[in-house]
């Protein structure tokens, strides 16, 4: 649920990076934080375990500048990917306006991607949101693993596993190298803002 302040002309929207454990959600945010410091007037908040795994979320507000006279602030979040943290994942999803699903390209992670996208669908349903209707962008991360000789899934397989029915825009990426990280972000922001605009026009 985005918040629109008509007095100060500010729009706040929430975008969540979702996906299985160790798929690179935090690395996406770290790359964006590093490359877009001018648009982030805040420290990156990260609630993690001693072993550097996300425990609750990573977060920072991303200043989009003015759109139609409104200051647009995008709140970027990640969820904890590990299966056992489902209750905290649900909390982070509350009020979400757009989702980036980060899939792991490694062959051995195939099943984890499928479990995670189903889990996203279930958790969105709890908030009366439909995975087929919410702005969604899919990122096939860790394409760089092939260079290290690690076997990766081909894009067709990933599409069949995750995106066959959803038909969401999808990008091959490497969060570690920064490849297509910003493109993924631009796409989800565009989709989220278009969706909010549509919702606003439908308001009585």
């Amino acid at each position: 649920m985005a918040f629109i302040n008509l007095k100060d002309k500010v729009i706040q929207a929430k975008i969540v990076y979702y996906g299985p454990g160790r798929c690179g959600k935090t690395t996406n945010l770290e790359y964006i934080y590093d490359k877009c410091r001018l648009q982030v007037n805040s420290e990156m908040v990260t609630v993690k375990t001693q072993g550097d795994r996300t425990l609750f979320f990573d977060f920072f507000p991303f200043d989009m500048g003015k759109i139609s006279g409104y200051d647009v602030k995008i709140q970027l979040y990640t969820v904890p990917g590990q299966v056992k943290y489902n209750s905290t994942r649900r909390l982070v999803l509350k009020g979400v306006d757009g989702v980036v699903f980060v899939a792991d390209s490694a062959v051995e992670r195939r099943n984890k991607n499928i479990i995670s996208i189903r889990n996203l669908e279930e958790n969105l349903t709890l908030y009366n949101k439909n995975i087929r209707e919410i702005p969604l962008v899919i990122q096939y991360n860790k394409r760089d693993l092939a260079k290290q000789g690690i076997e990766i899934l081909d894009v067709e397989t990933l599409e069949n596993d995750i995106n066959a029915e959803l038909k969401a825009p999808a990008f091959e990426a490497s969060a570690v190298e920064g490849h297509n990280v910003i493109l993924t972000l631009k796409k989800i922001i565009y989709y989220t803002m278009s969706s909010l605009e549509k919702q606003l026009k439908q308001e009585p």
């Binding site: 918040f3 008509l6 007095k7 929430k14 977060f59 709140q75 209750s87 009020g95």
Partner: protein, 128 residues
């Protein structure tokens, strides 16, 4: 959620008169998704509002889940005491929370007393 200028002005006045006027250093009205709806301070606080709002909403959500696990509907008092600064969370309705930062010069009891009046006024304003 959309709030108009009139509502936001009145929310600002209510929070300023009742809380900042009583010695609270900083008060934020946020939604449970972590968005900042209004924030007012006494001019001495320079805190990172957006990060605090995200963490406060998450903290409140986690506390609500813990309450349900132990068989409670909710915990009525959410208060963190520091050496100099304290934080008190107060639920306004299912969607909104008030986050108050105050020092040891005002008591929690006094703040809770003020808060019941503020919540009443806010609920009235939000139905306009």
């Amino acid at each position: 959620m959309i709030l108009g200028q009139k509502q936001l002005d009145k929310i600002h006045d209510t929070l300023t008169q009742n809380l900042i006027g009583s010695g609270v250093q900083s008060v934020m009205l946020i939604d449970t998704a972590g968005n900042v709806i209004a924030s007012i301070n006494n001019g001495t606080e320079t805190i990172d509002l957006y990060s605090l709002a995200a963490l406060a909403a998450a903290n409140f959500g986690a506390m609500s889940c813990m309450a349900r696990i132990v068989g409670e509907d909710e915990f009525s008092l959410l208060f963190h005491k520091g050496e100099k600064e304290n934080i008190y969370f107060c639920k306004v309705n299912e969607e909104l929370l008030l986050v108050n930062i105050f020092n040891n010069q005002i008591s929690l009891g006094f703040l809770r007393l003020k808060m019941s009046k503020v919540v009443e006024e806010l609920l009235e304003l939000l139905t306009i």
